[in-house]
């Protein structure tokens, strides 16, 4: 690094309170070498890494607390139930939901959206109705609605995006109609990083009496989310994108809506009593949690959210924003490289293409340098198609990335250019 770059860097560096070196030391995987080079992990939007505190919380649960939840009178069953319900309370606090009855544990964002589509959707959506999404959605917020539409005769509508990757709010407003039954949009776009104006979207939808589901998978790791302030009706997110384990996530659902929703899956834990003819369903939220849940996953998720709170979501957001600005500036300066998605409000995601080099070749060459990025359509094919692209390369940043990661990325991209000419 040149002295000038170092000076420029120190001017850009985040608040001294955010100690990225300490944060990095808490993520064991970052000490790994990949292809003989220190790992530069720039794929947190696909899945983030886990800090020791999460791994230890899972280990502690598994080694000292495990039994099935909500069942036995024995000590371990009570310990497990407490640990599980404590995790639910942490999620409630993290999202600022009014009540833990509004927090349903699921496998992840995908399952949360499928739950709403199947339970709320099938009882509220009929022929001629419309579900309104955007072109920015991840497949998880497209396909469940297509399936609901196919089953009910409803229509799926999608609001377009401006060339800079921002939602065309005017078009969204026009698509919102008397036929709209639900608005389902991303809080943050996974492919481009665009932060959607969710408050305004909720305001517009509620003015027409339409409930709103937010796919928060990409938002929760990067910013404060307050479901009461946003006033959304459903909010879905995944544990593994917020430094927690895979296979666990949560759905927030406004209690008045959840209370009127029929169960989606049937089985143990979601009932109060079962006869051969019929059953009485359990209270909220357990009515929506059939079968033995992912208890250790929930414990790990709770630990992850507490970890994020210990760093401070505002501090993480500020740190990542510094990296976003640095990466945007450095990548923009590279010849024949084009950033895809330059919305004014963005999470720390940099999607780009290089003239004459396919994103997969970029991915392979960077991997040989120990740098992990995502290449492809990012499970968001409609937005790729809207930009006329089959694929992009995407670098996404998390709480543990630093300015050196940006340097290494730039060096890697220079190597790509050298190889491909």
């Amino acid at each position: 690094m040149s002295t000038n770059a170092a000076v420029a860097r120190s001017a850009l560096s985040p608040k001294p309170t955010y100690d990225v070196a300490r944060v990095r030391s808490e993520f064991p995987i970052l000490a790994r070498q990949i292809n003989g080079k220190p790992l530069v992990y720039l794929d947190s939007a696909a899945s983030s890494q886990r800090p020791l505190t999460v791994l230890r919380a899972i280990e502690l649960y598994e080694t000292t607390m495990h039994a099935n939840v909500h069942r036995g009178v024995h000590t371990l069953s009570q310990t497990a139930t407490e640990a599980f319900e404590n995790a639910r309370e942490i999620v409630r606090r993290f999202l600022n939901a009014r009540s833990a009855r509004e927090i349903v544990f699921v496998r992840g964002t995908t399952e949360a959206i499928n739950l709403v589509a199947n339970s709320w959707g099938r009882s509220h959506v009929g022929p001629g109705d419309e579900i309104l999404i955007t072109y920015l959605e991840h497949h998880a917020n497209i396909v469940p609605w297509q399936m609901l539409c196919a089953a009910t005769g409803a229509q799926l509508r999608a609001a377009p995006v401006r060339p800079n990757g921002e939602l065309d709010l005017e078009a969204f407003r026009e698509l919102l109609s008397a036929r709209t039954r639900l608005v389902a949009v991303a809080h943050v776009s996974n492919a481009l990083g665009t932060i959607l104006p969710v408050q305004e979207i909720v305001h517009l939808a509620h003015a027409r009496g339409v409930p709103v589901l937010l796919d928060g998978a990409q938002a929760v790791p990067h910013q404060t989310v307050d479901v009461q302030a946003i006033d959304c009706d459903f909010y879905a997110f995944s544990g593994h994108k917020v430094y927690g384990p895979t296979g666990i996530g949560a759905l927030y659902a406004r209690e008045s809506l959840l209370a009127a929703m029929p169960p989606w899956q049937g089985g143990g834990d979601m009932i109060l009593s079962v006869g051969i003819e019929s059953s009485t369903y359990n209270e909220l939220p357990w009515r929506f949690e059939a079968g033995t849940p992912n208890i250790s996953g929930a414990v790990g998720l709770g630990a992850a959210l507490e970890y994020v709170e210990s760093l401070g979501r505002t501090a993480i957001a500020a740190h990542e924003h510094t990296l976003l600005e640095l990466a945007t500036e450095r990548l923009s300066a590279l010849p024949r490289l084009k950033l895809i998605g330059t919305a004014s409000a963005k999470a720390a995601v940099v999607s780009f293409v290089m003239d004459g080099v396919h994103p997969h070749d970029i991915g392979t060459i960077l991997d040989s340098e120990g740098i992990a990025i995502r290449t492809g359509h990012h499970c968001a094919m409609p937005i790729m198609e809207a930009f006329g692209l089959a694929a992009t390369a995407r670098a996404s940043f998390g709480c543990y990335n630093n300015a050196e990661d940006v340097d290494r990325l730039v060096e890697g991209l220079q190597k790509v250019r050298k190889l491909f000419g």
Partner: protein, 147 residues
């Protein structure tokens, strides 16, 4: 992992200037290949003469490996019979997935793909064109020879 083994000069050259790029019209056979994981798309058009591929073209978009592999394939199979192509495909498949000992000499320029085996994530890129060719040939019954 040797990057230069993957991106050999022949590969880079065929990526920059793909041979037999475009579309034959009219064509006796056509097939589209798609790798949904990475979005690579490829369309092959073939003109047959009896049992032989008289001419072929490809078009589409893909990474350097998929483009170069398709370009090299068109050169390698032009003028060959179905049986010869099937044998060549077997050799290429072995080269990409389970390289053992000496590669078959009839591979010729296709040997430039030898580095792909070291990059398992990229094998699909190199084999897409061959799967597409197989699909095109399977869909086309061998016409009765008029010779």
């Amino acid at each position: 992992m040797h990057l230069k083994e993957l991106y050999r000069d022949v590969i880079l050259d065929h990526n920059r200037s793909p041979r037999n790029f475009g579309r034959l019209q009219p064509a006796d056979a056509q097939a589209a290949g798609h790798n949904p994981l990475c979005g690579d798309k490829l369309t092959l058009t073939l003109r047959m003469q009896g049992d032989r591929v008289e001419d072929l073209r490809f078009e589409g978009q893909g990474c350097a490996i998929s483009t170069a592999s398709a370009s090299l394939m068109t050169e390698a199979v032009k003028g060959r019979s179905r049986q010869e192509i099937a044998r060549l495909y077997g050799e290429v498949h072995a080269l990409l997935t389970a390289p053992t000992g000496e590669p078959a000499p009839e591979l010729g320029k296709l040997l430039a793909l030898a580095g792909v085996a070291e990059f398992p994530a990229r094998v699909k890129c190199a084999s897409l064109c061959w799967h597409t060719l197989n699909a095109a040939l399977e869909r086309t019954p061998t016409p009765v020879s008029t010779e």
